[in-house]
């Protein structure tokens, strides 16, 4: 049995699980696989060199960085804050939902506004808590914790499933090269097309789920209060 050839995979799994240096893990896995697979050092270096060069397209993000940083310098985040700020008088669930739509659309153009540190914390959180305060309620601490979790969830889900809609994004390029190594040649634009329903459904699922959850939480923390008011 050729089980020894799986040693490289074992190294990758254990290495990542133990949070070792990613580059070290991959290099070790590559060297071990090349040796047990009978490729030898020369074979390893040649395949490494050839494959790395034929996959340079994956470094396209370096080129995109020529504008990303300068866009930030020229007020992109402020413009995004201005755009989402147009959502008024909403519940935290609606704020999170609106952010999901905006993040999903911009993700398809590979545009991000600074992540949790740069956007969710300074802009989405105050909007969500502001929505609670605007309706005359105090922000419950456990409710706030859930809002933080839902905002980060929306941030991740919209980005993951919509960023694959960017033609030339890292995910598509990696799939393209993996398929090429198996002998299937595919076009980036076709990889994007097949993800369109997935991206849309993912954002909808997240929005519906977080809004239902928000309604339930709202009832849990403020529901009784409202009844008291009625009485």
């Amino acid at each position: 049995m050729d089980l020894i050839k799986l040693l490289g995979i074992l190294i990758v799994v254990i290495g990542f699980a133990l949070k070792k240096d990613s580059i070290l893990i991959i290099l070790c896995a590559a060297i071990v696989t090349a040796l047990v697979g009978g490729l030898g050092i020369t074979g390893l270096l040649e395949i490494l060199g050839e494959s790395f060069v034929s996959n340079r397209s994956m470094a396209i993000f370096i080129l995109i960085m020529l504008v990303t940083g300068t866009l930030e310098r020229n007020g992109l985040k402020e413009a995004a804050a201005n755009l989402i700020g147009k959502v008024k008088g909403a519940s935290p669930g609606k704020v999170i939902g609106a952010y999901g739509v905006m993040r999903g659309i911009f993700a398809a153009f590979n545009v991000s506004f600074g992540g949790v540190a740069g956007f969710v914390r300074p802009i989405i959180m105050p909007m969500a808590t502001g929505a609670i305060e605007a309706s005359g309620k105090e922000v419950n601490e456990d409710y706030l914790e859930e809002i933080k979790g839902m905002s980060s969830g929306m941030e991740n889900i919209a980005w993951f499933f919509c960023q694959v809609l960017f033609v030339g994004g890292g995910g598509g390029l990696l799939v393209q090269s993996t398929l090429a190594s198996l002998g299937y040649n595919v076009e980036l634009i076709d990889l994007v097309k097949v993800e369109i329903p997935v991206g849309i459904i993912a954002v909808i699922v997240a929005i519906v789920y977080y809004n239902l959850k928000d309604k339930k939480l709202n009832k849990k923390y403020y529901g009784s209060q409202r009844e008291e008011e009625k009485a």
């Binding site: 990758v12 949070k19 240096d21 397209s57 300068t70 979790g149 993996t178």
Partner: protein
């Protein structure tokens, strides 16, 4: 030069090579800037990493593959020894970006969206390819930003890209390295071994069973490793290829949805610390798993949806 003069090479291929050269030059600039940067705590290591990466990116086509291989090994050394550092950086201040916003306003979205739009246009309406479209989009985007503000000189773009590239650091080479690992796995016959192992469980020829194993395998593998990019090469070579694609399923559908099936795993694992654990700290949350708990339900819905989608359209 003969490459660019050769009429048999497609224009798209030539332009793509120009893009790689520009990309390599930006990387080389990052290296040279840091070698001369007195504030960088590790000038030599940082310089070696970025310069060797820049050479392979810009001129790899003309370098013998074994030399490229050696250069790649060389660039991993300072990164493994943790000797690739960030030097002096000119981060935009809040006042600066606020002032720019007051001047430029919502028009800033135009250059932000330009790159993606050009990628789509070039992919659909030309035979030059999406990546050449990205290159053209970047030129247009830079031009627009220069029109918006006279402060946006060419130097500003170069310095800002160095700032971002240095922040990403050695992980910049990870995608290419992962792809190369996939190539080495394939060359060493790793896929065949996994296929014969999984073959004991999954009946050969049952494509639907293969899709289910592939999608759930992607999710679980990603949860263990915390990285769908690392999982996709192994899973596609080992399971996707022999159990699904070999029976005529659409490689576009299976390969790509396989990746996003993996993303369902990313949503459920503390191993993906950047997405799931770092935000907990940034938002001062009490529960370390607070982000993940809010992602499990959508992730499960999405994995089921994607399995059905693959089975239905294969």
């Amino acid at each position: 030069m003969t490459f660019f003069m050769n009429p048999e090479v497609a224009l798209g291929t030539k332009l793509l090579e120009v893009i790689y050269i520009v990309m390599g030059l930006v990387t080389l600039y990052t290296g040279i800037k840091n070698i001369n940067d007195k504030e960088n705590p590790s000038r030599i290591g940082t310089g070696i990493f970025w310069c060797s990466l820049g050479i392979v990116l810009a001129f790899g086509r003309w370098i013998p593959k074994i030399i490229n291989g050696i250069l790649i090994i060389i660039m991993t050394i300072p990164s493994i020894l943790n000797k690739v550092k960030i030097g002096k950086q000119d981060n935009p201040t809040q006042e600066e970006s606020k002032a720019a916003f007051n001047k430029i306003g919502m028009k800033i979205f135009i250059p932000a969206l330009t790159i993606g739009i050009f990628a789509i246009i070039f992919a659909i309406f030309t035979n030059l390819g999406a990546l050449v479209g990205i290159g053209v989009g970047i030129i247009v985007s830079i031009a627009l930003l220069m029109v918006y503000s006279s402060e946006n000189k060419f130097n500003v773009f170069l310095k800002d890209s160095e700032r971002l590239l240095s922040t990403v650091g050695p992980l910049s080479m990870l995608p290419m390295l992962l792809a190369s690992l996939g190539a080495i796995f394939t060359a060493a016959g790793v896929g065949n071994v996994i296929a014969s192992l999984v073959g004991n469980i999954v009946p050969q020829g049952n494509v639907n069973a293969g899709i289910v194993v592939y999608a759930i395998g992607m999710m679980l593998f990603t949860m263990i490793m915390g990285n769908a990019f690392a999982a996709i090469t192994v899973m596609t070579v080992g399971i996707g290829g022999p159990f699904v694609l070999a029976y005529g399923a659409d490689p576009v559908l299976i390969g790509m949805i396989g990746l996003t099936a993996g993303y369902c795993g990313t949503l459920c694992t503390p191993m993906a610390a950047n997405f799931n654990i770092v935000p907990v700290a940034m938002l001062d949350m009490k529960d370390r798993m607070g982000v993940i708990k809010n992602q499990v339900v959508p992730a499960l819905i999405m994995i089921v949806f994607q399995i059905i989608y693959m089975i239905a359209l294969k």
